[in-house]
Symmetry: C2
Subunit: 339 residues, 2 copies
DNA sequence: TTGAAAGCGCTACCAC
DNA sequence: GTGGTAGCGCTTTCAA
């Protein structure tokens, strides 16, 4: 492995000068620049980022912790994160917490030990990482979900508004027996979607029966079991609002097993859109979150935080960007069955 | 930020001893160990991995470069990679090459500069990274796909066998007019699937008409356009073998647009399985690759390579592990239409 | 404009 | 069993 000394020697200049050329900072005589550059090429020199990081106290690396790589929502966000990070000169250390708070904690510690400049986190628990933010005042941006009563930096979707609009869509179609399969209710994404649903029902003067509120956990299987329960009710709902993509898939399986037609017998409106939802059968009506945008904005906010952290400016650190979702009407929702 | 000196001072021992406790290597009196450990806790000390890496010349980090995070096949592999890497004490630097060879090159250079201990790569081009492998003799394991004539370390699916079995399935159903939508034909995954298809046809004495061989590029849109072309032929095929998931989705869209029933009018067999395929309508018959296994094995092989690289053992470095795929028969394939 | 040298936090060698 | 210290490759004073 070639070092900066090798380059300096070959170019016949000092290590200091070589470093200056490398970083294009101080002014160096063009003649020397040329010599150094060609020495670098001749030696196929790649500066050691590790050594550089040790000296400069920054790694140009950000960590990202998500609960499930397999969920298309998160991979769509990651796509935005990855490209924005690269453009800004940062690399990404990727961690999957598997929706496990203790693994999340482990990952966070690892990232911290690796001296990442900042962290992007979709937390699994109310206060797991909150800790790190406040105790260490470490650059940390939440995305997708935040703990209730959160104060800090985050990029999220307007879940309440999106759920409200989705429910209005169902009501507008004429549905009166509308059920919901919620996600976990410990964080804003689950909580706000339920809240928006409630608000729309209330405004329309529609009741929310206990048995129409099924608590899921954002995993496929809970969508399946909640769906089964809902569809086998004495008076089943004519429409179901399902709070994320994995559960929607589970719900559709339940429909299939029971031979319940959609949208013939029951309309389904799912939270989260992605390529395959548009070609599901029936083509799914969904709430599409601005995933790419969320990823990009989260990176940008994090980098701003990193900068102000470095300069000990604590002013602008706390804010939440709220992105709008979009309702994509397709074939899984229709007027209620009346026969 | 606390350093090892702070810990040493508080514990009343030397830096050397502290380091020994930290790395559990040399023997230290239990009494001192205790003092050091509690000093670490008191100071909330996190050893600086950057400094450690500089000294030890290893980062305990592996880089992974994939062509598309959004493709469920790759995210499934990543899941296996992530968990195995974590268990083995490695972190993951994640890069998306976006199927762009020059971006792949950039990513590789970045990883190299960051002194990752090794790289996992699903290449986009025949000889892009091959270079790095041979010139630098850097620990590198390919997965999913390798250049034709490849020699080196890799973990791949038995694409030829899987495609052969898939085609046999179609033939067994009674199909004689069988078409294929291929992927890009520059790497083993595209090449071998076509080859397996050809072999099965040939063995059955079935012809492969020119117009039944549609060249796609593994992207959704090519599946769509190839599908359209196939279905509008004067004598359309009764079955289509589609060489990856994204193209299968595109193909299903084409079927939908043209109102062609599946499996009524045409059977579809897609390469790559994942959660949503099983509930697509119709439920898709697919070839399921052992994605998790591929991820795990690739990591294990890479770590073996890293070890032997470190010890300058060049013996066992070149080998290819071939994993078996599994045909999952569902509803998108049936006997040909005969009316 | 250039270069000598200190030092980032850690490990590992070597002397005790 | 313990500790002093050189040095990993780099950046960054500071003096020339």
């Amino acid at each position: 492995m070639q070092t900066i000394r090798d380059v300096a020697r070959l170019a016949g200049v000092s290590v200091a000068t070589t470093s200056k050329v490398l970083n294009k900072k101080a002014s160096v005589r063009p003649k020397l620049v040329k010599r150094v550059v060609s020495a670098m090429e001749a030696l196929d020199y790649h500066p050691d980022q590790v050594a550089r990081s040790l000296k400069t106290r920054q790694t140009q690396t950000i960590g990202i912790v998500i609960p499930d790589v397999t969920n298309p929502f998160f991979t769509d966000v990651i796509r935005g994160v990855e490209s924005e990070a690269r453009v800004q000169g940062y690399s990404l250390i990727f961690c999957d917490s598997n929706e496990d708070p203790s693994l999340e904690q482990t990952n966070l510690k690892m990232l911290f030990s690796r001296r990442v400049d900042g962290v992007l986190l979709a937390p699994t628990e109310a206060n797991a990482a909150q800790d790190y933010l406040t105790r260490r005042r470490f650059p940390l941006v939440f995305f997708d979900r935040v703990p209730p009563g959160f104060s800090g930096s985050a990029v999220v979707t307007d879940n309440l508004g999106a759920a409200y609009d989705a429910t209005r869509h169902l009501i507008g179609l004429g549905h009166e027996r509308i059920a919901i399969i919620t996600g976990r209710l410990n964080l804003s994404n689950g909580l706000d979607r339920l809240e928006g649903f409630r608000k729309a029902l209330q405004q329309a003067g529609l009741p929310l029966r206990d048995e129409y509120l099924q608590r899921g956990d954002f995993q496929l299987e809970s969508g399946h079991s909640c769906g089964l329960r809902l569809l086998q009710l004495a008076v089943p709902p004519t429409a179901i609002f399902c709070c994320n993509n994995q559960m929607t898939l589970g719900l559709m399986r339940a429909l299939g097993e029971l031979g319940v037609a959609c949208p013939g017998r029951v309309s389904v409106l799912g939270f989260d859109d992605f390529d395959w939802a548009a070609n599901f059968s029936p083509r799914l009506t969904t709430v599409a979150q601005p995933t790419l945008e969320m990823g990009k904005q989260a990176v940008q906010m994090l980098i701003r935080n990193i900068k102000s952290f470095k300069e000990r400016v604590n002013s602008d650190e706390e804010k939440v960007v709220v992105l709008k979702a979009e309702l994509r009407g397709r074939d899984s929702t229709a007027a209620p069955y009346s026969g």
